[in-house]
Symmetry: C2
Subunit: 352 residues, 2 copies
């Protein structure tokens, strides 16, 4: 009797239609080793006619059978940076015949923990996690993951036994700050994300190092490190612009902060101010060319970061769990989008 819905076709149905046993169907679909070509054709035809799809869940139930799934927990999928990152992971995963289970933690530790637990329950072969702000090691322990390989991406977490891939945050920020200092800037503002995210701390460290080397003080009034959105970054930038002695340049530690800063600066200029601070931005973003002020990017390849994270995961699966963890750094490079006009700083700034 024909089924009402096509739901629930099994090897048995295909076997019946092809006039063979379920085992022959299984073998054929697994590659056809030790099956007569004629039978293989009958099986393929039957499978096609019925619209049969192997049940991957049942398949992975057998011990030793991989599930073909990789879990990714991301903090904010709306940030194109993480979208690109996810593409990079997906690219490599697809090459290895794996699918992506995706979860958005929204910078919430509880949600992240829940995601990880669920991924484990779904038998993922490995996890790639961009840890949420303040994430603890406890829900990323080897025991919690039942021995599954874990890669931390973009951000570090203390005391977690895992491979890690991060950007060259410290050096990138150092180079970016040095770039501003070399151009003659002395009053440099800093817009960044919270210190509970490792990028927030590392980039600030690099910035401070460059300032210290130049004998410049990092003045608290010029530093704002709480902005996680472009809107709050814009507000922070406006505060800096309203200071009696506003900074002649700002270092924005990620794309959300840069976008907020540039938005505020554009409003400032539209409001009649003839002058706006130079910007160095960690992260690239669309339409950087439209910047109304001198702009330099600390550029990197988010997709490469995702690819590398996936590669570390598959490497780990090959090497076994007992090799020491790997820390991989993705290089960054300075890209001047709009150069500093000569003599800009001395003459053009407001009330020095």
């Amino acid at each position: 009797m024909a089924r009402e819905h096509a739901v629930g076709l099994t090897v048995r149905d295909v076997a019946a239609r092809a006039g063979v046993s379920p085992m022959t169907v299984s073998r054929t679909l697994a590659g056809g080793k030790n099956v007569r070509p004629e039978l293989q054709q009958r099986v393929w035809a039957a499978a096609r006619d019925l619209g049969y799809h192997r049940n991957e869940n049942a398949r992975s139930l057998r011990p030793g059978q991989p599930s073909g799934l990789i879990g990714i927990a991301i903090t904010n999928l709306g940030n194109p940076y993480y979208g690109e990152f996810a593409i990079g992971v997906e690219e490599v995963a697809a090459q290895h015949g794996r699918r992506i289970l995706l979860g958005n933690s929204d910078e919430d530790q509880a949600r992240e923990r829940q995601l990880v637990a669920d991924f484990v329950g779904r038998q993922v072969e490995g996890l790639i996690v961009v840890p949420a702000a303040g994430a603890k090691a406890s829900h990323l322990s080897r025991a919690e993951l039942e021995g599954r390989p874990l890669v931390l991406a973009s951000r570090l977490v203390d005391d977690v036994w895992a491979d890690v891939v991060v950007l060259d945050d410290v050096n990138g920020a150092y180079q970016g700050a040095k770039h501003l200092i070399a151009a003659g800037h002395r009053r440099i503002g800093y817009l960044g994300n919270v210190a509970s995210v490792s990028t927030g701390q590392r980039r600030f460290d690099g910035f401070c190092r460059a300032m210290a080397e130049a004998g410049l003080a990092v003045e608290p009034g010029y530093v704002a490190r709480q902005q996680q959105t472009a809107a709050s970054a814009s507000a922070a930038m406006e505060q800096l612009l309203r200071l009696p002695q506003p900074p002649t340049a700002v270092f924005a530690a990620n794309n959300r902060n840069t976008i907020g800063a540039l938005t505020a600066i554009a409003r400032h200029l539209d409001g009649g101010a003839g002058w706006g601070p130079s910007v160095v931005s960690f992260d690239t973003f669309d339409l950087a060319e439209l910047s109304p002020v001198p702009l330099t990017l600390i550029a990197h390849d988010a997709r490469a970061l995702g690819r590398k994270a996936a590669e570390l995961l598959f490497d780990r699966a090959d090497k076994g769990p007992d090799h020491p963890p790997v820390l991989q750094t993705i290089p960054v490079s300075l890209r001047v989008v709009r150069p500093e006009p000569p003599g800009r700083i001395e003459g053009a700034g407001p009330a020095t």
Copy 2:
């Protein structure tokens, strides 16, 4: 005997530790109905101590048990528009206790087909697909999906039995074009994506309707409809700018085309041209405020689109497969970012 790795804990292990039967464990974890509170505590303690996670794949093997998975196929995850879309889906799915299986088709039909087949094999409860350019109905048929509900998002496909949620493309483009015409523009360029994507066709239709109503011809020399990336859009815009009579305004049919257009216009202005065409953009994007030329956005909420797609999916699961398909439209709205200065068109354009 102790296990080498923690991999493969089962109800049996928990049952043994708690001194009860596997059934009692199962019942407890399923909510604890008809289990003595004392035993429940023992079971929970044992599960926690061992770090047990229920095997969701084995669970969904039993007939009638849902897998808890929703499959999403997207054409380009690097486009923040689709990132936001995915967040919207994930939000609603998480509310319903479902996880997301994500695949990137990269506008490739073969990859899309493969993704869909795999999703079915993994027993997803439903699929949300942004169909790739030129996607055919055949691999989205009810039979192919084994009766699983399908929602098409953002783009239409002919002859597919599915619920659909799209933006108000035609009307949005119509309003955008009318806006330019009302401002006095007569020579209006069009930058869009290919007609094999329904948005490419629908937005062009709306544009043409506004032009026709105003008695204006859509001149082929002003129309470029093959750009899928910002880079190619930038090249197309440069061609328009090099025409003896360049358009005084351009309609860009999506964010990639707008970004390309603005980049080309910025280069043009930096090159010394005192004048650049006005822009209307379908889709919003970061840093629109930096536009050097008059800019109006046809704005909409990609996250809302994702949410609605997921809601349609769950509605369909409730209503059953026999209700007629639903077509839902997400409204768009005009947002003037940089208004048209008065008298700009007559005086300022090059060689009329």
